[in-house]
């Protein structure tokens, strides 16, 4: 097991290298000259040239790439062009809200989507099944920002149950932290819940046809035990896979959700950085998200071995 995990970590290196190359090339692919942008409207050509040199933009591509990678490997993600703060510091400041949002959304999704999918499969073809699947199609089709604004309008502005916007760190208490995250998590989770519920239903439908489910019934097991122990554990591999793939949805959705609910997280930082063409920050964030995604997929592969004893690495 441990050798497998180590091997997998090593095998992520090429992936990360390609991501790094792509991220670095952004600077060249994107239109506009960062040196001109930073220098501002009033700058003379000499000023622009000076800035270009100080950023190393005048050097050959591979040299620039090499020294960039070298610095990253030493934990230096560069310095923001806009704020002059180290990128790692800026990311560090914004990590908390985004991680909180993603974790709450993930837990909410699992807690809602899996039972919904299981019930839909159990009652396949019934009114409940149809209602759940209709809800899933609906949830899948609505853009995050629409759901977000509607939720904020209804539950925050009209009913005043929850705050409209903002973020409170966990250090200031669990409930203040959570109440700011409930609406964003529902908005962000809609698509995710729909996706996971559908996969859960489809996989469970197949599993419920299996001989061992009949055996469980013949033993006198109750419906709950059959669904959630005998069937769900067998359906777990595809469900876990989709939950993992969905992390990518969360990362993309977090950018929009944080804007809607004014959460000072990485999503907001990403948008700000893009608008300011703050390339070091953009690169740092994309690199971080890619790394998280690769890591999550590794964790999922390891999870397989926990739910299915036939999978051994």
């Amino acid at each position: 097991m441990l050798p497998y995990i180590l091997r997998r970590i090593v095998s992520t290196l090429p992936v990360m290298a390609i991501v790094a190359l792509f991220v670095f090339s952004l600077l060249y692919i994107a239109p506009g000259d960062p040196a001109v942008v930073i220098a501002g409207d009033q700058a003379s050509p000499e000023d622009v040239e000076r800035i270009r040199q100080s950023l190393g933009l005048d050097r050959p591509f591979l040299i620039q790439f090499g020294s960039w990678v070298w610095r990253i490997l030493h934990g230096d993600l560069g310095t923001s062009i806009f704020t002059n703060l180290p990128v790692s510091t800026m990311i560090g400041q914004r990590l908390g809200p985004t991680l909180s949002l993603m974790c709450v959304t993930l837990l909410l999704t699992i807690a809602v989507a899996v039972p919904l999918g299981v019930v839909a499969a159990w009652k396949a073809g019934s009114f409940i099944d149809r209602a759940i699947m209709a809800f899933a199609v609906f949830g899948f089709s609505l853009p995050v920002f629409v759901v977000g604004y509607v939720l904020a309008y209804v539950f925050a502005l009209e009913l005043e149950w929850l705050p409209v916007q903002g973020y409170t760190p966990l250090t200031e208490g669990f409930w203040p932290w959570l109440q700011n995250l409930i609406l964003p998590a529902i908005a962000l989770g809609c698509v995710y819940i729909a996706l996971v519920a559908r996969i859960t239903r489809a996989t469970m439908l197949e599993v419920l046809q299996q001989d061992y489910i009949r055996t469980a019934r013949a033993k006198g097991m109750g419906q709950g035990g059959i669904l959630f122990i005998h069937a769900l554990k067998n359906a777990a591999v595809p469900i876990v896979t989709v939950i993992g793939i969905g992390i990518a949805l969360l990362i993309g959705g977090a950018v929009v959700t944080e804007s809607v609910f004014a959460i000072p997280g990485l999503g907001r930082l990403t948008i700000d950085a893009i608008l300011r063409r703050d390339y070091p920050v953009i690169q740092g964030i994309v690199l971080l998200f890619s790394f998280v995604y690769v890591l999550v997929n590794l964790m999922i592969d390891v999870t397989y071995t926990l739910v299915d004893p036939r999978i051994r690495y």
Partner: protein, 329 residues
């Protein structure tokens, strides 16, 4: 006194092309400690009969009617909860497919423990100890290690032994074995049959053995019921049935059994087959269900269904002609 009395069992399935009468008016009984074999070819309704007894038929599309009296109680009138208390406890079942009948992601021990914890109220430890005992009983070596293993770590024969251990864990009064040896090697088949017989005499359970293997029937059954197209066509004590089958279908079945050595003794004999196919159970059948394939069928057979009649003591068959000795083998 009969342990199980089945009266006019009808299990029908609604299908897009009509109602499939998989089991259509079957009655039989099983005495305490007795072994009844139900034989017939694929699709004759023998498995559906056994699943109906346990009420394991999904409803809808299935529908079970008639009466299934077990120890005096009509199982068809019980609530789901009451039925669950009977399944695995008073009546348990062994299935045909040992490779797929065990849950692949749960340990063998857990799967045996469950039934003990549901029905006997044992705690985890007591159930574990009993599970190990059961594995020993069904002849699995190193039960303490095996109890923690998963089904894929066991061979087909071992898995069927585990199934038997699960089925017998709560000392059921009735064991339904649906083709328990069909999927196994011949050598393993004999072992499993012997095991079932040993355990039967130990626990005193009655057995309903569903099979199409007449060799198995001859070896372990006391009474045989022959099914065809969802109906009972003949029933007799095993020796009587093999000696003088009264229904042409049963005779056909017996003729279709290959015998070793017949070609060596010079008495080479072509394996007899029953021509034709089982009738479509979605269409109403007038006359004898077997008429379409029966060499002796007459207009009488095609128009009037023969009732079950006692042709000899304890030997009943549904054939217009068998009593007249016209088809005595």
């Amino acid at each position: 006194m009969a342990l199980l009395e089945v009266e006019n069992l009808q299990t029908h399935f609604r299908t897009p092309s009509g109602i499939n009468r998989a089991v259509d008016g079957v009655s039989f009984h099983v005495n305490e400690g007795e072994t009844l074999a139900i034989v017939g070819e694929s699709g004759c309704g023998k498995s559906v009969t056994s699943m109906s007894l346990m009420r394991l038929i999904p409803e809808p599309p299935g529908r079970i009617a008639g009466a299934i009296r077990f120890a005096g109680k009509d199982l068809l009138k019980l609530s789901d909860r009451e039925m669950r208390a009977i399944r695995g406890n008073d009546i348990s079942m062994i299935f045909q497919e040992p490779m797929t009948s065990l849950n692949p992601v749960l340990t063998v021990g857990r799967q045996i423990r469950e039934t003990l914890m549901i029905h006997q109220g044992l705690d985890q430890q007591a159930a574990e100890a009993h599970a190990i005992e059961m594995l020993t009983l069904v002849g699995i070596p190193e039960p303490k290690r095996r109890v923690r293993e998963y089904p894929h770590q066991l061979s087909g024969g071992m898995r069927q032994r585990v199934m038997i251990a699960i089925a017998l864990a709560c000392n059921p009064k009735l064991l339904i074995a649906d083709e328990p040896t069909t999927a196994l090697d011949v050598t393993i088949q004999a072992q499993i049959l012997k095991l079932m017989l040993d355990l039967k005499s130990r626990v005193g359970a009655a057995i309903i053995l569903i099979t199409h293997d007449l060799g198995v029937v001859a070896e372990i059954a006391e009474r045989v019921m022959v099914m065809y197209a969802g109906r009972k066509v003949e029933e007799a004590p095993v020796a009587e049935l093999f000696r003088s089958p009264r229904h042409p279908y049963t005779q056909g079945l017996l003729g279709a059994v290959p015998r070793l050595g017949s070609s060596l003794t010079g008495a080479a004999r072509r394996l007899a087959e029953i021509p034709g196919q089982v009738p479509d159970l979605r269409k109403p059948i007038t006359g004898c269900v077997f008429a379409g394939r029966c060499a002796l069928a007459t207009d009488l057979c095609r128009q009037y269904a023969p009732g079950l009649e006692e042709k000899a003591p304890r030997h009943i068959a549904a054939c217009h002609y068998s009593a007249k000795g016209a088809i005595a083998a």
